[in-house]
Symmetry: D3
Subunit: 208 residues, 6 copies
């Protein structure tokens, strides 16, 4: 029995201090380019690795008849540094997730309920578009513009995964029309006309 104890002593002592299988986000400590600082291992519990915030459908009683609910590292600290995150998308019939991109991640989209058109556009302006039914998965390569529209008669539920714990989310019409970009610069760099730019700024709340 003494030998067993000695055995434990050696192996455990040598491996213990070096253990860092994960780096649960300490949301109050400094962040770096690779993510949040790590919570002290002694304070980590299973709840850091479980997130229940996507269990309920989002409210789609809005302009776009859609909702996005994210589970990125800022809400789900166990993801920090692991190169993964998720989101839940709910789309009422006719609902749409506006054209957007994720600056730092590729994405898989799984249609759990309903039927949607999903598409992305590549650098050479080719459109990759498909009507997806329940159980279908589509992948959007990193940084490219894409969107989803519920083309069915029932609500759609979509589960999204990202190749980063912090993928970013740039919504095209928000970047243009809900920001402080001056109308003149928008027009010059998108070829949109002045009336349309001003209409959308008024609609979406842009200044500038």
């Amino acid at each position: 029995m003494l030998h067993v104890l000695l055995f434990f002593y050696f192996l455990v002592s040598s491996s213990h201090a070096a253990v860092q299988d994960f780096c649960v986000a300490d949301l109050k400590a400094p962040q770096g380019p690779a993510g949040y600082s790590c919570k002290t291992p002694a304070k980590v519990t299973v709840d850091d690795f479980v997130y229940s915030g996507l269990g309920v459908a989002g409210n789609t009683s809005n302009f776009i008849k859609a909702s996005i609910n994210t589970a990125f590292a800022d809400k789900f600290p166990g993801l920090n540094g692991l190169g993964l995150s998720m989101a839940r998308v709910d789309l009422a019939p006719g609902g749409a997730i506006p054209m957007h991109s994720h600056p730092g991640a590729s994405e898989t989209l799984l249609v759990a309920k309903g039927s949607v058109i999903a598409a992305f556009v590549s650098s050479d302006n080719t459109v990759y578009s498909k009507t997806l039914k329940e159980g279908d998965i589509m992948v959007f390569p990193q940084g490219l513009l894409h969107f989803e529209v519920n083309t069915g008669r029932t609500p759609a539920l979509i589960w999204v995964s990202f190749s980063s714990s912090n993928p970013g989310l740039q919504i095209l019409s928000y970047a243009l029309f809900r920001s402080s970009l001056p109308s003149e610069l928008i027009e010059k760099t998108t070829f949109l006309d002045d009336d349309e730019v001003k209409r959308l700024k008024a609609l979406l709340g842009g200044s500038g």
Copy 2:
């Protein structure tokens, strides 16, 4: 109008050849450490980015009352090089995915239907275990042993995402008892006794 054409000429000519937003797997060309070779862009279609093979429940009429169906880059070539893949897990009541690890990827697990116990064990032998209900997500850090068991009375459906397009899958009892590892070496390196090793080799089909 001539100016417009000139404009197209310049921008398009300069960006066209350099486009490589993605690298759809050419399953017949050489693989490298970063993944499969890329299919010629001209032959890529939207179907390379869509996978429908996970839309149907797996057959759980088996020993473990469970099935795993993967969507890795070898089946879903659009994933190649994008750092993501997926799998579908079906668990009949009482079903279990055996203890396993993914040598090259972290994993998120989303319970779409039913209720499961999921757990992983860290390097210092701490168990992180939780009973998950519909809509819950759990994350398993890279390379650690983990499993899922359906503890409910109804079938469970789980969607799994990985931080690699080729995550690997090492099932513990298969590695030990369905391989050609000699019984003597298994016993010496796991402390299991000879009877048990031989029983499991017979059950699971090991040689050696």
Copy 3:
């Protein structure tokens, strides 16, 4: 002297075969997620590491009074795998590089001649905009929308560097209006009105 020769024999023989300081692109061999295949080292010359194609000003007699000329790995094979590439931007007075993003790279922009307004928009719709003069450098983080406009009275010359040998280039209005995206989907996902979408499709050559 024999000793010297022996010395050479040992060190040179041991290091020679392992040398791979670079991986000059073989444009005809398979590509993978990490870039082009490597040219046989014996065929590599200094000319693979030198590119002269950006030495001449681009033609700005066009719609946007601008030109972009890229030096990505497809034209400058020595860059392959080294995480760098370049481009030259020429802007006549009033010229503009349209709103665009690089899906796979961050960018530095150096104003070599003239004066330009440059700006990018972040995920939370903040605009980072500045009038740059000769010698100023601005950095655009990966994947975010940005643009440059010559606000001076003289031609501007800009040198651009990317953190990838293959950064991609998605021009916003081309992705929307020079592609095959159906007008209805563009409108639904950008809130633009039908007249404007059709005007721009006609202008830029979109189908769909």
Copy 4:
């Protein structure tokens, strides 16, 4: 001479502040996903880059007739962020390092003295096994189960290197039988029988 001084002034001033050739671990500052925070460069000495803790044979008077002594970044701070670490394994005749894996690293194993059987098992349950003699090197790809057994009549000394400064170490029978995993779940997910699970829990100190 003035020119020389001016020269020094320019080159040194421009390069000095940017120097960060290394990031010696500051074990008391926050950790992040990429490793420990860096010690202030001014406090770094050569001793941060040298480790003498593996110079003495480990005590093999134990249950497994073996010892592992690690030199990971927590003990050898100069390794931090450099993608390398080491360990020393001593095996008395008949000694064995139990079946284990490193979740975050590949490993090379060099037999410095003696003769050992080493093996790893791949995802498809293939066993790669070899009797190694003095001077032989074997490589274990990341995250796969492997072990070493001294099959000779003399003590064996093994030097191990890892592709991470923090590779982790999951010992299979510890994860199962020295943890708080409930016996029922172990049995369900490994197919081991109840008697054997309880015997090993008693032997190795498991709870649950």
Copy 5:
């Protein structure tokens, strides 16, 4: 209008906290292997992404008739974590940047004015050398010795980009002769003779 507000509420609330498109260096907080800690996003301004320090020619009235002025993350904090940095090189006629390497980055060199000979040496002692004229770009693969010499009759201006926000800069003759390396060790490991080592130590200010 209420719907619009609700829409904003959902999308903005879900994406806001997770935004980390960039990690502007907080030069006073801890550094890690991946770079500086991030400045609080609320304090980031456009000036963090713009650097004007390279707009003026460096003083070349010195020993080497050359100056290097760097824009690494320590001076240009917006670069932190983005894998890019820059430098400006001024060379009077006959001026030279001494033989050096960047331990952590590849480099592109653009000749903006004048004419220079640039060269690097690979691991197998092959020299890749070229006389570059205005507008030419050369790339130096990571970690290899290289240099530039102004061979023209007019001052040369060179813009340099690196594949790291912190590339390092090891000047060969400084490492040898301006450091505390003992002469005996320099001689033994470079084959230089004692007189020459001592002459250069005196010239460049070495001790040891």
Copy 6:
């Protein structure tokens, strides 16, 4: 029993094709920036993961009383893509490994026999030097100049590990004096005098 077979069918069929736990180098197929192409898994044997070429002491009857023998991926194909390689260094009394750097890797050095002085120089010309005895480990950060000298009275044996399967090896005096660099350019960029450059070119076999 049928159930067992079904079980095997499902799990094995789903995981089999996706398995790529390793990428053993196929030395005859194209290389890419991430390494060699992978050998067909069916042809991989344990011998691809074992290398015996470092078991014998190198010949130190030469100019530098030293030998280096490498185990990089070109000789030890199992290392390909795993971020590790090794080398054996033998040093007769008074022997020295000349000043050199590894452009693409950090290094650990373990003194297995004898006593050596090892040192590296950082970007700010600080020397990190130490006399190492048996069992000591030293780490050299990536890309920096370093060397080892046997200062004892007995042969020294050193085991070296690298953080890349293809680390490169640039020997300083070879790069300068055994290459085709013109004497004039060497002198201008190193401050060495003409006599010394010519003496070393004659000694080491340089042309140019």
